[in-house]
């Protein structure tokens, strides 16, 4: 584990008390803390022991920095299509931040309204890595990939209904994307996207 890099606690299947105990051990070892997929009950248990832990209810994260984390070299853009994709996009953004990266959020940009996306072309070009989060707009990473030279990490989300099949439609669309420079992580895996984006952004 790199200096300052967080230890990660995946909350599902753990009680608030278990989460708090693990968190206390991590902070006691002077490591940065990152709890993902948690909720207010998890936060309350953690806050009772670690008052300066920070809860983000949209991202469903608890974080607490520790010492110096090596800074990423450039900004990471997190782009998302719909409001329903924000929990995953924010998970990616918060995780990338605790890993030492500057994050530029570009939300509410979709392929059915191209002008909003094209209006942000300059910000997209300024990114060293781009994370694209989308459920019903599985084409977004492909469109973004065609606009930039930076590597693009695509995150399908389970948002949608009918033939979205819990994110499978978005996942398949992203894998079949024709734009080169795009790779994909698991459905809803904002943390995983942040992890590889940060690894890329910390390359010397």
């Amino acid at each position: 584990v790199r200096q300052g890099f967080p230890e990660v606690v995946f909350a599902p299947g753990k009680t608030p008390e278990q989460i708090a105990a693990i968190a206390e051990r991590i902070v006691g070892a002077d490591h940065a803390l990152l709890v993902t997929r948690t909720d207010r009950a998890g936060y309350d248990a953690v806050a009772a022991r670690i008052p300066d832990a920070i809860f983000n209810p949209v991202a469903r994260t608890i974080t607490r920095s520790a010492g110096q984390v090596a800074p990423g070299r450039g900004p990471i853009v997190v782009a998302a299509a719909g409001t329903a994709d924000l929990p995953v996009a924010e998970e990616a953004a918060i995780c990338a931040e605790i890993m030492g990266n500057a994050v530029d959020r570009i939300y509410d940009v979709g392929v059915a309204g191209l002008h909003r996306l094209l209006a942000e072309h300059a910000r997209l070009l300024s990114a060293r890595v781009i994370i694209v989060v989308a459920g019903m707009e599985g084409a977004l990473p492909s469109v973004v990939g065609g606009l930039v030279e930076a590597p693009v990490i695509a995150v399908p989300t389970s948002v949608g209904y009918g033939a979205s099949f819990g994110g499978m439609a978005a996942l398949l669309g992203m894998l079949n994307s024709c734009a080169s420079g795009v790779a994909v992580v698991n459905i809803d895996n904002g943390f995983g996207a942040a992890a590889i984006a940060s690894a890329i952004n910390h390359l010397a």
Copy 2:
């Protein structure tokens, strides 16, 4: 069957001789002829009986007009993403033409190279109905649907490999499209797209 509207022969599972016999009966009844999913052997058998039948090897169609067909009211645009999608796109185009519609083909436009698509915005806007054919670029109908007010008929193709699953990825992507004004026909079904597009284009 409307005056001039073709009788359709779906070739798979029929021998060249069977196709030719059906075709001869259709032409003898003074109906327009449309054979789909055929090949040169099918055409040779038909041409021996109907010398002025026309074969399109890309669209895999045999056609012969008959009398006056009611003209569609405006142009139908057929847009396609990749060269591998052309057989389905041409099937749609040829079928739409024999049904009495003027067809404007816009090929080689994809979401990973938006500028080529945006450069054709005027032609897209001039269409009364748009057929969008795509395999690896399942997002194309959604992008087109965001650029126009005309109804869009999307045709997923079985082009692709890996996780394209014989067109299933494109089909799901099109169904989950966020653009309103888009509906979908079966994978590779260029004829079906032409049939509903023509029905729309012939509405008084």
Copy 3:
């Protein structure tokens, strides 16, 4: 956005208060309002700010017209097979109405009792566009498509059990339909069916 055409709010994932705030902004801009997939709590929040908003508990919509909407050219028939399909059928019907179309509802017609469907042949023939909504009777659009020349928009529903797979069986049945003139939208997507049907019905 065309004059009078509604701005659409997709309710899932939004709190009643968020829905009400967006609705107030839309109505304040003098646009027509359409909220889909909402419930009574959503309506109560909206009604506190927009007393003349109309709630349809079956369609799960909140609507409020604004100024003149261009009228569609002919009636849109919405046909549905079973009572369990009514929420989707009503979503299609209410959406089509707020978009300026006259809607003729033909409910409780199924392929297993053909006489009820055949008794409505005249109403089907009078439609400019037909929306067919069905879950367990995936064959209904195909049968209807064989009875008319108008374009048919098919909406599979997630109604059913066992091997219905959340509407997948109906979706596949509709895509494989032999009748020409049929296209399909996403499972349960009554709004999407209304959007393309209205686009067709507003063609000059």
Copy 4:
């Protein structure tokens, strides 16, 4: 095995010589012979030993009766939608005949052209059991089931393309059918349909 009831040889995976050897043993034991899913090469090998064996190239069967088979009590109707479904329909018909049943074939009836089906209502009503074979028209058994009181055995076929998924779409459509009195056998299993239809038709 009932007197006169055939012994069945499923040809795939067996050489012509193996088929012929088994057939010779069956005929030598004075049993009726039924080979399914065979081809001309299989027949040539059998005919060299059993000159009066009968080959049906559409049904892909070799048959030879033996002694008296108990006759079924009424006619079995075999109905099929498209010409591509005929191999499965004929397999069902030939198998039912060798099992002692009178078979009435009603072919080229589909749900997209209801009048042809309704014109055969009397023949459908005269059946003691009905076998309905369909690939792209998965709704046909449901429509037939609504027109009669007799039990209906549905056979999905692998005919189709795109989202037909080798007969899965037809299978799912048939299972979700709303008509009561319908049950389903495996995709392309004309023999299996004949077997249960014959069992029903031989009930005292």
Copy 5:
């Protein structure tokens, strides 16, 4: 509708009050009543209007006979593998009874304990039609089909976990069964099995 044959109300999606109103209309018309997939609340509403309606909490049915129903010709055996399959098995049994058939229940027989099944061979042989209900033991219909000459209607159930996929594993197993004389209805469709079994059992 045959004399005495029930009118069927499929309860899901209907309120108790709606069920009761439909039931009252059916009974008022002197028809037999069959409500499926209901619960105690549905029964309470019905019983307030039709005091002699009968509720079966395992089968989840409400029934009330009316006049004479034509009797089936022989017993229908309903066989089931596990206790978790009993709701579907009882639905089949109750439905078959209200349709005029004598029902013989053989429960707790599975392929992993063959002796219990073989001990009931005589009862199986006495049946005119057999309904086999199984979730985790998809092989049961095949085994039963090998023991009798009567037609077998197989009902896969959604009982199971892991790779049972909501009954899909049982459904596929039953369709691939090697025993002839077996056909399948939809997952959990006890009513549908009773309907075709009764149709068979009422054949003259």
Copy 6:
């Protein structure tokens, strides 16, 4: 690698010459040789270098023993349902033999004809481990598992058609089996079944 245990060459994707070269190296190192999924061309290339290599055209194996292999403790029974399952069954049997086990083959036993299976009860009881190979009869391992106390390794095969889905139906049926004492290997993986069966049979 244990003394005498074969080195395994999986032939698909390798040229006959490549197979022969690897085989020569293995034999030169005085190891036992096992080539799986090969054909006569592969054997001819191997035999040119290793004249005493043995080809089994049904099992599609090439084998050559080397020195002493530790003998398994008891017989391994390989049971198979249909003739089409024999290539996989023989692959399992030959592999088990070259690994030092005595193999007892029980073929042509299926659940639809229980008497043939029950007639072999004594041989099944004599086995230390049982491998059950089946495609269309996915229930066979469950039935066998109910008859013995020995561990059962089930091998689904891709034999079948229609809804067998390349062995998936058999695989799911075997996984959902109610009999305890059964575990499963990959579809058509006769070698894998032999490997774990041999590991069990060599336990001290």
Copy 7:
């Protein structure tokens, strides 16, 4: 049933009272008791009648030994990757213990942190049979299988999200494993893994 081997009660679908009644009958017959997939309510009902029954809330089991059970010959290792996999791992462990086996638990070992797994190599080598339980780390059985000669029983779990598809991803990964000596049981089936592991471990 072997002396001391438990009778198993699968709790889902049974009321606490039903479970307790069955348990009382089993214990009254002097058999060992094993209830799986139960909860505290089930235990409370059992404990009211059988005070010395033991509840394991993680494994979700109720157990009570009875007389002498034949001891397994060596230790069974139960290895698990993540904390979320513990309920299934503990079900396997508790079931193996009540069947007479010594169990050695190795938890929190995953392929992404190989050193923890390699540090336990000696304990893995000491096992006579190994059960490997994993959801998100479907590769664990393959890695373990490469480190030992003992037979490995793999248990996929439904732990995970996104493209884990309820354990299907883990199941497929385990089936495609390249390590020989691995077989698989149903998703989450800790009991089934224990049953075959114990059968192997009791081989003379």
Copy 8:
């Protein structure tokens, strides 16, 4: 297009003559050439016009450099599990090389034989980006990801049989991987992996 970056021709669906014509145009414009998924016939047609084009029959590529390509900053490791994965691994390697990257190939390393992989730890650590190619060993990227800090691009291959489902099993396994720092491209998409790896490796 960056200076020296190749123009890519995806060969499937194009005739050798078409490929050669496109290649001639690319080389005439002084661009680097990369043809993927081609064969000797494609190469012969290209070589007739471009004698110094290079054919790699394993990678199925035709390449020809042009001027200076910006060099990647560090080595890209391409790791592959089995010999059957080599075509995809070589496609990735050749593509990465023509894009200006130094490539270090580590082949024949799998999770079932960990020692071979661990023996290459130093080479893995020296990579700036790692491409891991695997079909039957879907766990390999996860294991590699746990050994390094560099970003890992995983490429599932369609190698395998039975429940590998054309690479789907490997794809799902890679997506569910617990190691952070791993992202995935489409099945068999060696080119896509090279494209994003090169984009990462060219970051300033």
